[in-house]
């Protein structure tokens, strides 16, 4: 009897040791630090705890061209780090088979503080957002089924999913969560503006004057620290007769939302030309001309623009100086977010 008990105990200990040896190593947590003075993030980190392994998987997915139908386009193709993750110098980005997108690629930054995505806010969760460009016929045009099949067939991915999630299951949810982990850490909070606010730097005269004008004329829709109020507004951009993009109304079906688009963040604005939801403004000068002269006032135009936005040439000059302080050169060179093996700086991507 006693012998049986001892043998049984020994077997149990052995089993525990074996299972401990076979158990996958626990992923290493990454702490998400909120820049000082910033609001609480909108993203629910409890549902997707950040880990080094999850981040690494997200990065591999972000730069993997196999997420497109003909294996030619990755997320990073249209979201280039040196351009604050917009498409450098493109009003509209390129999809497969020489197609064009219908909207200007937005900067990817500070996404943890955003709860609706796309220029029309149609997507309600960061995890879901990548599914739109991946499946859109004029963008990456791939089916979720095919993507999961391509990933499952890749040994490197099998190992990475195991490391990130503790088991080897590969599904849409885990792809979305890993991509979110990578994008959530894209925090831009190290511009000259931020350093000035932290007391580590100071504005020169034009920057200082520009900051004053900004606070008076721009900050109601572009408030710090995110430089967007995350609302949908009609800033007087008339309907493009080819794209016929009604913006927020496409989602809500409400005529009151016609021609309203997400207020973009102005962080890294010097790097994200062209401007506007469809990239119609070639340079910042065009944006200012629009605001002071060309704005088309319609029934849904933001009431703040009833008199357009009067700006003198002098004010525009100072505003430009201030807006340049929102460029975060640490963020756009941060190797954590760089395409593996890619050269820093503009690259030729096919034309």
């Amino acid at each position: 009897m006693k012998k049986t008990v001892i043998l049984g105990l020994a077997a149990m200990v052995l089993l525990v040791i074996i299972s401990w040896m076979n158990a996958p190593k626990k992923p290493h947590p990454i702490a998400f630090s909120i820049p000082k003075g910033w609001p609480k993030p909108a993203y629910d980190f409890k549902s997707n705890p950040l880990t080094e392994e999850g981040f690494a998987l997200g990065k591999k997915l972000f730069y993997d061209v196999r997420l497109s139908k003909d294996n030619s386009i990755s997320c990073g193709t249209c979201h280039q780090q040196f351009a604050a993750f917009t498409t450098f110098d493109h009003p509209l980005s390129h999809g497969i088979n020489n197609q064009q997108t219908t909207r200007n690629a937005p900067a990817l930054q500070n996404l943890a503080w955003q709860s609706n995505f796309m220029a029309d806010g149609g997507i309600t969760h960061l995890d879901l957002q990548p599914l739109a460009p991946i499946t859109a016929e004029n963008e990456m045009a791939e089916s979720l089924e095919n993507i999961i099949a391509k990933i499952k067939a890749d040994k490197a991915y099998q190992t990475m999913f195991l490391a990130a999630y503790g088991d080897a299951t590969i599904n849409t949810q885990r792809v979305g969560k890993a991509l979110s982990q990578f994008m959530l850490l894209m925090i831009s909070s190290n511009s000259k503006y931020d350093k000035v606010m932290r007391g580590a730097d100071s504005f020169n005269l034009p920057e200082k004057l520009g900051y004053g004008i900004f606070q008076q004329k721009c900050a109601s829709c572009h408030p710090a620290p995110l430089f967007t109020d995350n609302q949908y507004r009609n800033a007087g951009l008339p309907l493009d007769d080819v794209l016929k993009d009604l913006g927020r109304m496409r989602i809500t079906n409400q005529p009151a939302d016609s021609l309203k688009f997400r207020v973009p963040s102005l962080r890294n604005i010097a790097l994200t030309a062209p401007y506007g939801h469809d990239g119609r403004f070639f340079a910042l000068s065009n944006v200012f001309e629009h605001y002071r002269k060309q704005m088309v006032l319609g029934p849904t135009t933001d009431p703040q623009f009833s008199n357009r936005l009067p700006l003198s040439n002098f004010e525009i000059g100072q505003l430009k100086a201030f807006l340049n302080t929102l460029t975060d050169s640490v963020f756009i060179r941060d190797p954590r977010f760089s395409e593996p093996g890619a050269a820093a700086g503009p690259v030729n991507h096919g034309h």
Binding site: L128, L131, T172, Q173, N253
Partner: protein, 235 residues
């Protein structure tokens, strides 16, 4: 020691034998067009005398509740079912073992707003199932696709993708079906008549509206129609 093991073994056997006595009950969804069983790719005529061929017919059933004669409600665990005409196994929902009797069943046709708003789901709710709008977050609750000579679209196609969970465009429908004789049969047969899509509260002519691809007024009209498509087949 030996005796103890034998005793446990006997107990296990006994328990499994007991559970076999309880009948495994289920609900089966049978798809029809009027009184004709639905056959995918077969030409049929709907209640509006429009000829059509159905290629896809799928819908979500969730929040299943069994209700007894006293009105006590037994909610089934948080489970979602994607009923798909093309997958016979999907058309049968296995109920948890119970000796109780029930007089009605209730379920939601669609996916509640919580699941629409909490990121990517798994299993039958995986967006990979093709029942999800990626550009305007939300599930397609019910999908009916095919072709009809009445349709003016390329290939005479018609596609109805019905969904919407937001206020003002909500098409979540709670369906309640009374069980005849208040006695739940081993396999409750639920008739699902596609005709209801076209001729419920308001008539839907394929010739006039061959497409519905987003939440809104048309989706609400069609959902009000198809909420009437369920009935129980008398055993």
């Amino acid at each position: 020691m030996k005796h103890l093991l034998q005793y446990i073994l006997l107990l296990c056997l006994g328990l499994s034998a007991c559970s076999e006595v309880q009948a495994q009950k289920s609900i089966s969804f049978q798809h029809f067009v009027g009184n004709q069983p639905l056959v995918l790719e077969d030409s049929i005529k709907n209640g509006n005398a429009e000829i059509l061929v159905v290629r896809r017919f799928k819908y979500y059933v969730s929040n299943l509740v069994l209700i007894d004669a006293q009105g006590n409600r037994q909610s089934l665990p948080d489970t979602y079912y994607l009923i798909n005409e093309a997958e016979p196994n999907s058309k049968k929902i296995i109920l948890p073992n119970s000796n109780k009797n029930y007089s009605a069943i209730e379920f939601v046709l669609g996916v509640d707003s919580a699941r629409n708003c909490s990121g990517i789901q798994t299993g039958v709710l995986d967006p990979m199932q093709g029942m999800f709008w990626t550009w305007n977050t939300g599930y397609v609750f019910a999908k009916l696709e095919g072709s009809s000579p009445s349709s003016s679209l390329p290939a005479h196609a018609f596609t109805y993708h019905i969904g919407g969970f937001r206020t003002g465009e909500n098409v979540l429908k709670t369906i309640r079906l009374e069980i005849p004789g208040s006695s739940l049969p081993n396999d409750l047969q639920v008739k699902v008549d596609i005709n209801a899509w076209f001729s419920g509260n308001s008539s839907l002519l394929i010739a006039e509206r061959p497409v519905c691809h987003s939440p809104g007024n048309l989706a609400m009209k069609i959902a009000a129609n198809y909420a009437q498509m369920f009935s129980i087949i008398q055993p």
